[in-house]
Amino acid sequence: MSIWRDIKGTIEPFWITLRNMFRPVVTVEYPEVRTELAPRYRGRLILTRDPDGQERCVACYLCSAACPVDCISMQATEAEDGRRYAAWFRINFSRCIFCGLCTEACPTMAIQVTGFFEMANRNPLETVWEKEELLVDHCGQEPDYNFYHHAGIGVAAARGENPGEDKPVDVKDLMP
């Protein structure tokens, strides 16, 4: 009885291998050949700029709060014109699990995923990326959004000059 099982067990794997040898190939010869990534593939993160070329990130700490593995840290600060930005911004990619939750949390569309994934490295410290390395020169997947044109506190446009805003009121006006 068991001898039949043993014989079957010896032959079957060969048969499976043989059968699959004639099936179409699904893998590619990476790195010579590269596969087409899905448009929503979640790879390495970038910090994008708004259409005016300014840094989009306002250092609101929402991405770092959303990140399940706590790999984002930053320090907010204020520019001359009242713009809030990150004095420093650091992502530890050896911890990142590329879940994309940070991008969902980001209210300014600053942090975005890309299709870049080749980050293997022998030195763990080199997988810690700073703001200079994360910041790119384009808008990423959101070419039109500019946070400060929606948040009416007079940073990108003067107070009351954004679309959908009235001119600042004259407090001392006595008109009804």
Binding site: C60, A76, V128, E130, K131, I153, G164, V169
Partner: protein, 789 residues
């Protein structure tokens, strides 16, 4: 106490409570903005609608305005009320700038929470948003008016509660604006409360602008170290930096309000010069080595010359536990009992305050409820700012406030001021029956219901406080006349309890000068600044064989110490302070000690490797260092139990928890009957009185960089009549000669101060820092600069 039912849950609320109070007590969220427990209800925001099913008023009502009644039935989920709240929430948001990501309130914003709580999510209104221009309100408070929802809490806080006069509501209709008439720094010493009380991000902390998010902050309930009132605070920090202070809530003391000195004066904790490494004769060493060396040298010294040559100096800044351990250390080495304040007059005042029967000590809450308050030798805004707020609340409820003080007092309420000199005050108290004013006040105190006498330890000294206690006994035979002593530091009272058994006439400086002392250990104090004669003290200190200092401030004494050990600040360790009303209050650590990341990274990315120091070398608390010397292995709780065994009047100490209301000490014993002889100058001689300035005179404000903008210009104050007699004009440059030096200062006329006196505020970083308040007035000479030349 009415019992009512809300959403089928029954609750009992205090007499006078509202339906909203009842809902809050049950944990049912009824969105609300304009109501605040400390301010009361005005029904301005219309957000708290509920349905009253049974009760004297039925239907849709504002929960904050309806007093709770017995057998009331309330529902918060009736369709009509839910829709009403959602509608109001939506209205309030029509003009909101949608800038939460860049708003410092975000994450702890009542508007965020209550808008979601009211059921509003997506903006439907398509009209334009109203906008405002902001004002520059000075270095403490930032304004972003576009976020305002017109709840009026700010005006009720700033004007009504705190008595500020330069802020209010302006405009009409869609133009209602909350601010000053024109740009400029807010004048009130309580302006920071706007930040806590505004339910939106209109007012935020400028000193902490864009630095952190509430969810990232490490916070722990603590006690304010800036004066003796011990207000409860909630400090927060991050990245090893103390970043902000908010008011805690203790309805028996500060009741959700703190002063600006406390709120904006906390960055001394991160001072770049803060000493963080142990040093031996100025050389950095590992801290265990310094500690062992200290023990070795102490033992050798005691063996050779005996324990009497060792002196220990505690401090009103150090926790009660640390001061107590110092006493044990003295016992261990056979040294005389420690001093608990380097300033002998202040120390005696603390001892006297600690000996007042505890039932006779008023709390700030009792002060707010008083009907006649007599301030004797105390300037609330300088010595205990939140006391001024309590006075205002009493005055608003109809109390009369009478002040006897040589300084040109200002208070945020109406009061009667009698500018008497320090000496005539003391003389008057020593024979009140001969003094017309005191005699008439005595009669008024007798007829009032809940009188409180506030005595300033700094001006009156222990002797004055003793006289005040006698005065109170003489005038309040039929009912209690409570006393509210104002002392120097957060734990002065604790030092007073510990020092009660010692000899009050011992004086550190005399001991040092007569050469019998070879070693001195200072715990969190700088005798050279705290003593009334800094120059003399420095000289005396230099004669010591061994000066050991445990501290966390960059003082001169730290720099000259033979052995220096860094300690943790109150934000970095746990402990207890006993405030001026004899209330023991615990504080918890907020942060781990360490160099802030802004420093290690010079503002940019922090270095990849954080540890530059070996583990375990971070500063230890003074309690830990003293325990090491004493070989005491108790934890804090064990230590407190041990304290209770020795000092039964502190019997509730082990039941304290940080953030609670604290517990009053029980009677520690009989009233201290000893007195100290003080020679009070005669009227007529021109004398100079150094006083505490509103900002900068306490050691913590002195090292707090955010407060420097509030420091006054150095000047000498004089009564205009006095000046006219001598031919001086206002603003003239004069030369003031005193025993501590001579000073070139502008003369400033103050019409409301006492005659026959000059007043100088003690200001750090100016030549006037050599003056120490807390003594008697000093003889002086004054010339105009021209004559002098």
């Amino acid at each position: 106490m009415p019992t009512l039912t809300i959403d089928n849950q029954t609750v009992i609320v205090a007499e006078g409570g509202s339906v909203l109070d009842a809902a809050i007590a049950l944990g049912i969220v009824v969105p609300h903005y304009c109501y605040h427990p400390a301010l009361g209800a005005v029904g301005a925001c219309r957000q708290c609608a509920v349905t009253i099913l049974e009760g004297s008023q039925k239907g849709l009502k504002m929960a904050c305005l309806i007093p709770a009644e017995d057998d009331m039935q309330v529902s918060t989920c009736e369709e009509e009320a839910v829709a009403f709240r959602a509608q109001v929430g939506e209205w309030l948001m029509t003009n909101h700038p949608h800038d939460c990501p860049v708003c410092d309130e975000g994450g702890e914003c009542q508007l965020q929470e209550m808008t979601i709580g009211a059921g509003h999510g997506i903006r439907r209104y398509r009209g334009n948003k109203r906008t405002y221009l902001n004002q520059d309100l000075g270095p403490f408070v930032a304004q972003e008016m576009n976020r305002c929802i017109q709840c009026y809490r700010c005006v009720r806080t700033y004007k009504d509660y705190c008595g500020g006069e330069d802020f209010g509501v302006m405009g009409s209709q869609q133009r209602v604006f909350f601010g000053r008439f024109k740009d400029g720094p807010l004048e009130s010493d309580f302006s920071g409360n706007l930040i806590d009380f505004c339910p939106t991000g209109v007012f935020t902390d400028r000193t902490n602008r864009f630095r952190t998010r509430s969810w990232d902050l490490q916070q722990a309930p603590s006690i304010c170290p800036h004066c003796s009132l011990g207000c409860s605070i909630l400090p927060g920090g991050r990245y090893q930096e103390l970043q902000r202070v908010r008011a805690g809530g203790n309805r028996l003391t500060n009741d959700s309000f703190i002063c600006d000195r406390a709120r904006f004066g906390s960055d001394w904790n991160n001072h770049p010069k803060r000493p963080r490494e142990a040093r031996i004769s100025g050389e950095k060493v590992e801290f265990p080595y310094a500690l062992e060396l200290l023990e070795e040298r102490l033992e050798k010294l005691v063996e050779e010359y005996g324990g009497e040559t060792l002196r220990l100096l505690g401090s009103p800044r150090a926790s009660f536990e640390a001061n107590l351990l110092l006493k044990k250390l003295a016992e261990k080495y056979g040294a005389p009992a420690p001093y608990y304040d380097a300033h002998p007059r202040r120390a005696f005042a603390a001892r006297m305050a600690a000996s007042i029967p505890s039932g006779q000590l008023a709390s700030l809450k009792q002060l707010r409820e008083s009907d006649l308050i007599l301030l004797v030798g105390v300037d609330p805004l300088a010595e205990a700012p939140v006391l001024a707020l309590a006075l205002r609340q009493a005055a608003r409820a109809g109390a009369r406030i009478v002040a006897l003080d040589p300084r040109p007092l200002e208070l945020p309420c109406d009061f009667e001021h009698h500018p008497l000199t320090q000496e005539s005050l003391l003389r008057g108290l020593s024979a009140p029956e001969e003094n017309e004013l005191l005699e008439s006040l005595r009669q008024q105190l007798e007829t009032s219901q809940r009188p409180v006498l506030v005595g300033g330890g700094e001006l009156l000294g222990g002797e004055g406080l003793r006289l005040l206690l006698h005065f109170s006994e003489s005038c309040c035979g039929s009912h209690d006349c409570l006393i509210f002593p104002v002392l120097h530091g957060p734990n002065s009272f604790g030092g007073g309890i510990l020092g009660a058994t010692g000899d009050s006439n011992r004086n550190l400086i005399e001991d040092l000068e007569n050469g019998n002392v070879r070693a001195l250990i200072c715990v969190e104090t700088d005798p050279a600044i705290e003593h009334s004669e800094p120059g003399r003290m420095q000289l005396a200190l230099s004669r010591l064989e061994l000066l050991a200092v445990f501290d966390h401030l960059p003082t001169n004494t730290v720099a000259t110490a033979d052995i220096f050990l860094p300690t943790r600040t109150i934000y970095e360790c746990a402990g207890t302070f006993i405030n001026n009303e004899g209330r023991m209050q615990a504080f918890d650590p907020v942060l781990e000690p360490g160099i802030p990341i802004v420093v290690t990274g010079s503002g940019g990315h922090p270095p990849r490797q954080f540890e530059t120091t070996p583990p375990g070398s971070a500063p230890r608390s003074a309690v830990h260092l003293l325990q090491w010397l004493l070989k005491d292995r108790n934890d804090l709780f064990g230590l407190r139990r041990q304290i209770i065994k020795e000092l039964p009047c502190l019997r509730d100490l082990d039941r304290l928890a940080a953030g609670d209301n604290g517990r009053r000490i029980a009677d520690c014993g009989d009233t201290l009957e000893e007195s100290r002889t003080e020679i009070w100058a005669q009227e007529g001689e021109l004398q100079v009185l150094p006083i505490t300035a509103r900002y900068g005179s306490d050691l913590y404000s002195r090292w707090s960089q955010s407060l420097t903008s509030r420091f006054e210009e150095p000047s000498v104050w004089i009564h205009p009549v006095e000046a006219a007699e001598r031919g001086f004009v206002n603003g003239q440059k004069v030369v003031l000669r005193t025993v501590v030096g001579h000073f070139h200062l502008p003369l400033v006329f103050k019409a409301k101060m006492a005659r026959g006196r000059l007043i100088v505020p003690c200001l750090p970083g100016t030549p006037l820092e050599v003056f120490t308040p807390g003594g008697l007035s000093l003889p002086c000479k004054i010339y105009s600069e021209v004559d002098n030349a």
